[in-house]
Structure formats: C-alpha cells, structure tokens
C-alpha cells in the first residue's frame, strides 16, 4: 500500500523565518486593533447633529410612532416632524438616557395582512425573514415645574451609539441596557434643600 509522507525535517533557518513571520503577524494584528480603536470619530460637541428617527412616545405635542429628524443643536435636543416646528428638550434637563435594542417586523399592516392571507404557512416563513433590528433611545427629562417626562425614540441600528456619543460630549451619561440608578429626582433635591 502506498503512503504519502511529508518530510518535517527543516533546517534551522526555516524555523527562524516562521518565527519572524508570526511575530510580524502578531504586531500587525495588534497595530490594526489599535488603529481600529482610534478610528472612532471624535465627537465635536459644538457641531450640529441630525439623524432620522421614529418618535415612539413621550414627547409633548408630537404624535406617537411618527418619523422625523432628531437633532442636537446648541443646548437642545430637537425632534422635527416634516415641516412642522420641532419639539425641544433642553440637554441640561435630561436626567438619564438609556440605549436599548429591539427587533421588529417590517412592512406594517399591509405586510401583516399579506402574511395572514398566504396559504400553507407561507406567512410564517416571511415573518421569519422580514424583521429588522433597531436601536432605542430612552430619555428621562424634567420640565420647568420639575415634572418627570420620558421619551422613546427608535433609531436605525448603530445610530444609538452615535447619539449617545453626542449626548456624552454634552455631559449626559447614557447607559446601555442594564438597570442604572438615575440621578436624584428633583423632589429629593428639594427636600434636601429645605
């Protein structure tokens, strides 16, 4: 029976060469990692910032589940829907911001009806594929009377981090997911002052 053998008896220079290649590869990888860390764009706190977002609920005088532009200009976070004047929240009044994620079905009501009408369970297969991941931004802020408000925005995947960076640059510390004790409520501060 024929067998194939691979001769592993290499010279010393072969091993030195391999060792050098490995060291270079290691250095290259770590260098790339460091480069990747430093490529995160530095956030200019004073630069205006605007992204497309969906207002899920909470903002006053704004419809729920409506699309618009979420922007940070000067000292205010603004949500503007179409040509209407936007709703503003002062950044200094924001007590806490939370990032989260959500997976939702796409297509709305027409898609739902289509899926329901599809025979032989075809709608279920479509449901399996027709979903999209979103980021959610939850804000807790106080009004001029000290009343607590909450607002939830739905953003495209990855944009939550971007808003968080801008808010962080302006002194708000967003947290992602887990429970975080929020700042003292205004009432508590009032009691302490009395």
């Amino acid at each position: 029976m024929d067998r194939f053998f691979i001769l592993r008896n290499h010279g010393n220079s072969y091993f030195v060469g391999h060792a050098l290649i490995r060291v270079w590869a290691l250095l290259l990888c770590s260098g790339l990692g460091a480069l990747a860390q430093s490529t995160a764009p530095p956030v200019n706190a004073s630069a205006p910032f605007s992204i497309r977002a969906t207002h899920l609920l909470g903002l006053e005088n704004t419809k729920s589940n409506c699309n618009g532009a979420l922007s940070i200009q000067g000292e205010a976070l603004q949500f503007q829907q179409g040509g209407t004047p936007g709703t503003e929240v002062k950044i200094t009044s924001i007590q806490a911001a939370f990032l989260g994620g959500e997976s939702k079905q796409v297509g709305g009501l027409p898609m739902k009806l289509g899926k329901a009408a599809a025979p032989y369970g075809g709608g279920r297969v479509v449901s399996l594929l027709a979903h999209k991941k979103y980021d959610t931004l939850t804000l807790e802020y106080v009004d001029s009377n000290g009343g607590l408000h909450g607002a939830i925005f739905q953003l495209s995947k990855g944009q939550g981090e971007l808003v968080a960076n801008f808010l962080k640059a302006r002194g708000v510390s967003p947290s992602s997911g887990e429970y975080q004790a929020t700042k003292q409520s205004t009432v508590e501060v009032m009691h302490e002052n009395n």
């Binding site: 959500e102 939702k104 009032m190």
Partner: protein, 181 residues
C-alpha cells in the same frame, strides 16, 4: 383538484380572519384583578393624582418599558377624566393641591417577548407584564391596591404591552370604589 385547493385556501383565510376578529374580545380578559361589581369611584370630593415613576422592583425591566408604562399611565388617566388634575412625578405644582393622591406602580412579573417569535409561532413570544398599583394619600395610607396585567400576544410591538397595561390600570381605578376616610 384545483377547486379543492382553492376552497382549502379560502377556509384558511376565513379562519385567520375569524381569529383576528375574535382577538379583541380577549383583551378585557387581561385584567384579572378588575372586578366589575365594585363600580363607581370614591366620594363627591374631586381628587387629583400624582403618578410616580415606575418601580421595577427586583426585576430587570427595560428602561423603555418603565418610561412607556409611566407615559401611557398619564395619558390613560387623563382620558378617564376621573381626576381633577393628573400630575407628573416631581411636579412642584402638586404640593399646593389640597386633595392629592399618589399612584405608585411596582412591577411584579415581566416576561420579555419577541415580535418575530410571535409572528412565526403565534403561541409563544408574548410580552407579559404584571404590576401592583397602589393609590395612596399624602400621608401614605393605601386607599386602593390592585394587581393588573398587560400583555401583547399576537399583533403589535413589545411596547404595546405597556399601553394595554396602562389602559387596564386606568380601567381598574375607574371601576373601583375607594374610601379615603
């Protein structure tokens, strides 16, 4: 063969439509704690209410859920027109109001759901919330206590559970009788 196929698909669509039509009827069943027998509220004095922020208890409830319950509660309580004024947590104006009650909400059970799982399987992936709602006087006396459920089982996003929950809490408060004494 074609006619059999056509008729079976018609039956299938008809069954789905029937489920869709029947589904809203399940919603009132969600409020296990609401008793229709003890109808009409409290006394002749018109009370105002202050809604406290939602207490997640020992559970890790997503912040978006806590905020959504709080905001939906404010909206639903305003809709019932049962209270003279509905104040937010921390509102300084509430301290000057003579007849003020405080609504506290504590999450007791929370099952995070999945919209895709609901759409694919129908029977699993429901988002479920159970909260204990207490109405207290300024002095801390409990006037009303109810355990209320809210969930989303079939259609809608996960946050819809908070809307259903808030509506059920408002309904429970409206249908209950309380004695401030």
């Amino acid at each position: 063969m074609k006619t059999i196929r056509r008729s079976s698909s018609i039956i299938y669509v008809a069954a789905i439509v029937a489920i869709m039509v029947a589904f809203p009827a399940w919603l009132p069943a969600q409020t296990a704690a609401v008793k229709s027998s003890d109808a009409s509220s409290g006394s002749a004095v018109q009370w105002s209410v202050q809604v406290d922020r939602v207490n997640p208890g020992d559970l890790e409830v997503a912040h978006s859920f806590q905020v959504a319950i709080y905001e939906n509660l404010l909206k639903e309580l305003n809709k019932t027109k049962q209270f003279k004024q509905v104040f937010r947590d921390g509102d300084r104006n509430a301290s000057d109001v003579p007849n003020l009650l405080v609504l506290q909400t504590t999450v007791e059970k929370y099952t995070p759901g999945n919209e895709t799982r609901r759409a694919v399987t129908t029977v699993s992936g429901a988002t479920k919330l159970t909260v204990r709602s207490q109405i207290l006087t300024r002095e801390g006396k409990i006037v009303l206590e109810r355990t209320v459920n809210g969930d989303v089982r079939f259609f809608g996003s996960n946050l819809r559970a908070t809307h259903n929950l808030a509506r059920n809490i408002a309904k429970a408060i409206k249908q209950s009788r309380w004695d401030v004494g």
